[in-house]
Symmetry: D2
Subunit: 349 residues, 4 copies
């Protein structure tokens, strides 16, 4: 019960189904006196929105945020920020074909088993549309910590990946292409591949890498609320995420201590940074970086077996919207959750 809140002092609680009237949330604990840049918030919403380019999807969502409280004369007041994001075209869709069926690798079946009832329209609460509310909160959290730089980007799509360390990338190029990959050559390969996948009516997974710079020393609370443990939970709570690693990650598991240890400079910085900016669960002032794995989304435009609530297996042709690769859209969501986690630790410090 009650899993729709994230955070201790900076808290976001979200509500809303894919095809209900609106989704939204309450941001509690936002520091007072921040002059909000509403355009910047809306820009983040546009980044998350489906239908941004030929490679992604066709749904036209307005995703216009309406703030209802907690802001006075353009500034945060320290009281909770309530907001809604209306679902403008929810009535136009027909979901009767999935009313009694459970699509493979969707949450249809488990929701019905857990709750005995489900809003089957467009995935209901399990739809990634819920992340719109997170993006609002994250955009505000970013504005509360302007000194910290959070840059996420697509680091792989299928087998195509950026073959460079993040230090060799120019993050200002991330938004210059539809896949949000700051390495232009790789981006082109990814785009071509996604178009191909889309023609097949299929989908493909990928990874998002996130780099946080200019982090103060001391964020994170031992022992259970380690900084990377909360970042991991936050990322794993995003739809379609299957894995999280930070610093040396799974590669680190193959290394020797003599290779892995980050030797110090006299000023307390380290020569290497396999620790990923976090030691003992606490930020050490170096860059924090982590990588998040997204599975291919389950909605494909091919014929597929589905189960119905009578126990019958039948073939069903996928229809409706189709996002061949969600990873580009996941970039602003990863950034948003990162900002939420960091601001919460800032306030707990």
């Amino acid at each position: 019960m009650a899993g729709n809140t994230y955070g201790t002092l900076f808290r976001i609680t979200t509500f809303g189904e894919s095809h209900g009237e609106a989704l939204g949330g309450i941001i509690d604990g936002c520091p007072a006196g921040i002059a909000l840049d509403f355009e910047a918030i809306q820009k983040e919403m546009q980044r998350r929105k489906p239908g941004q380019s030929a490679i992604v999807t066709q749904r036209k969502e307005e995703d216009a945020v309406q703030f209802l409280s907690g802001i006075f004369e353009g500034k945060t007041t320290g009281t909770p920020i309530g907001f809604i994001v209306p679902n403008t075209n929810q009535k136009s869709d027909d979901y009767s074909h999935i009313k009694d069926t459970y699509r493979p690798s969707h949450a249809d079946y488990v929701y019905e088993q857990k709750y005995g009832i489900r809003d089957y329209r467009g995935g209901g609460r399990s739809s990634a549309r819920e992340t719109a509310s997170r993006v609002v909160a994250g955009a505000i959290a970013k504005q509360a910590m302007p000194e910290i730089k959070i840059n996420a980007f697509v680091s792989s799509v299928g087998d195509i990946f950026i073959d460079k360390p993040y230090q060799a990338l120019d993050f200002s190029l991330t938004e210059s292409n539809a896949v949000r990959c700051p390495d232009q050559a790789t981006a082109e390969k990814m785009e071509a591949y996604i178009k191909e996948i889309r023609k097949e009516g299929d989908t493909v997974g990928g990874t998002v890498t996130c780099v946080i710079q200019n982090v103060p020393i001391g964020l994170g609370e031992p022992v259970f609320d380690k900084l990377h443990a909360e970042l991991g939970k936050a990322m794993l709570s995003i739809n379609a995420v299957k894995g999280f690693e930070y610093g040396s990650g799974f590669c680190g598991a193959k290394m020797k201590g003599s290779e892995h240890n980050d030797l110090y400079n006299p000023d307390g910085t380290t020569k290497s940074n396999l620790s990923g900016g976090i030691q003992g669960g606490i930020s050490n002032g170096m860059d924090i970086y982590f990588r998040v794995a997204f599975k291919p989304v389950a909605t494909i435009m091919q014929k597929q077996e589905v189960l119905d609530n009578k126990g019958n297996i039948a073939e069903q042709q996928g229809k409706g919207r189709h996002d061949p690769c969600v990873v580009p859209r996941a970039v602003p969501i990863v950034e948003a959750m990162t900002a939420i986690v960091l601001l919460d630790f800032f306030l707990r410090k």
Copy 2:
């Protein structure tokens, strides 16, 4: 502040430094009426304990748990279970050599930066010794859900890994060798490699895989407290962990939707299980499995540069105890945190 508690209804709070008088914890929310098997608890403590075999370490720890409350005539009473694990030999060690120095990739530096003070003896609070308290709580959580089978094992050490799906393994063999790898041939290679590493005074990382069987449908709370998000946080809160993946994990990020989707059987089970037993954050009754990456521990018995609190870099020869590969000892800890997470979701259901 205040990061030493895990859980919502079943909660473990731990305390204790490596070389203080004792460590321990409070288990709150344990269901009443469970007839505890104290030998089984102590056995889990032995599994976690350093010094179990030639390949691991030399410290002799008793790790005898003393229960102080919450148990009456052998049964849990529903009131909090307080317990301590005395540190029997903490006085015999000499840690003055690290008093003013920060060892690379340890938490020495960040603790001192964050708190302005640190208990430098043996890593203090950042020592993995803290996990002894988790093992106590996990052992009790296991006994509260006897029907659920939790089996963790070492799946890789350095570059050596089990080249089989978990279904091909016999978990009853995990404890038959010192590395806790149920595949005997692989276990032998791992043992040989760890002995070599030890001779070098070095350490090596590895991975632990955990398989949970006989899980009821419906555990996990959307949207932030997804079952795998909490499992991920719990694992990432264990010392030395750098990554977490469940089901298809990072491999899933390379796949197509048409390959990745788990088709249903008429009874609601699935033919494949790339979802890893969790869909939309909720258990679907299939096996849950995940993999955890551990870095090589930072304490090595080689000469290494350290930083002191005056900003000087100096060489220091590692001394004291040395654990060439912590992954075997991590197995019971992974199981313990898994049990804690599951029982909490059981009670929240």
Copy 3:
């Protein structure tokens, strides 16, 4: 930071200022499958609404709840219930006269000191209008526990009080008069007195008593989350509340143990019930009853000294709406918070 959420498993988070666009909230953890009676919810909103009769106030509020999520085909789905209550006439009021002034015994001054900024319109977040969101959540909580009977009523206004034990009252009469006092003779005196107070442009305090019947044994969690401790917190979080007592309350502090002890009947019920249905923080199945003290609201229609933000004291004539006695309107709020507390303990059990 972050004090706008109540509850552990059944949680209500509220947002909204008195004169913002809307207030509202998110109800998380509501059990699935409850067929909601929307009329009953709206009826509770009407009970809370100002302007219900000649004795109270003039503001016309629609207080129409709009549900945005968590409900499908009339039933709760187990996902969070987001809702808003638009502030229909917030633009018509003029609050410029209090922009730079702090009214006595209002929260104007402390909000500005704490946050450095405040929404001065109508009290902003500190307005009792926030309780509208609580009433929505409480109305739903009541429907989730139809067997439990929660009856609050006005037990005193100024010096006028009901001179009978609650057992002698007919709760079905509570709504039969404007003061919500089930004792008709006392109600008449109260009404007359409130009218007099209103003519003076003054206000008066009072008490609300709440009786909970048909409570199962075992609600409440020792030691900090005792049932009466949470009821107390919930009541004290309502605007204008100055005190809380349950069972024998402050009178009990004058008694001897030999008078106060509740002797048992063979079935586990007790002959007397000075314990107020709670022993050791846990419900014992007997009636729970408690009393809540409300101060006279600070907004009076008389000349009064105010402080401005330059440190000047000046006289100001109260204007705008005026509620001579809030206690009748507090009755549904007390019931709502009671239902919220009880449902949360039900789910934690």
Copy 4:
């Protein structure tokens, strides 16, 4: 489930039964670098201890606190402070006579109903002995905020009460008599009365008043976590408490707004302080004061009817220790919980 923790950032979790091996707790979130005065802590333990004088009780408790972690070279380190208080004479008592019986107005019956099992020795977890752990945490919290002055005292016993405002009292006299009443004449009457009650084998209730001075402006979090709401919960969580009021309290419910409003001085202080130092849930810098009602404890040395677990009513003669009036011992507990609440809000600010 899981109600044994109090606080958000400064958290105390307690464990322990009256007659188990030890009770204790974990203090999490204590700021680092506080040089603890251990004598002062032990002095608070002595104040809480039964058997301090002829008027109270005979039990000899050592109540020596043993700190196990979180302190290094006399200073707090920011890590959790684990501590135990051994129960030195728990074995010498014979509780077999209450094994199968439920004493009136004790928690025996509800614990057994709720948990299906109970540690019947001396009240088990429901014993006021648990408050020893709170006193430890409170004593440390006090030392973390040395500027704040917290003074509790006995304001009434039975019908005998201090007939003066707290401003007329000299708090330095509180400890000068056995009843902890700073008004010497009243104290004498109370003592005489308690001795009489004791001879009768009876008990009597009373009230404790607490005054907090030198509080900074801005503590408390609207709307649910109002400062007085948390103080109320904290007090109501203490054994035997039946009521809480702050500022004007229940008397305020009889007043008119024109009498009750606290007019400002130019510096933001107020001429009167019926608000009790808290407005809108936030401290305003004025003295905070509140009053707590304690019932007469249920253990009396007279013949009384008890219920047994077969449904029989029988007479039983009270035996064992007997505390005719717990209110003097409650004084340090009230102060401890006050300090815990305040420090938590300090850190949340």
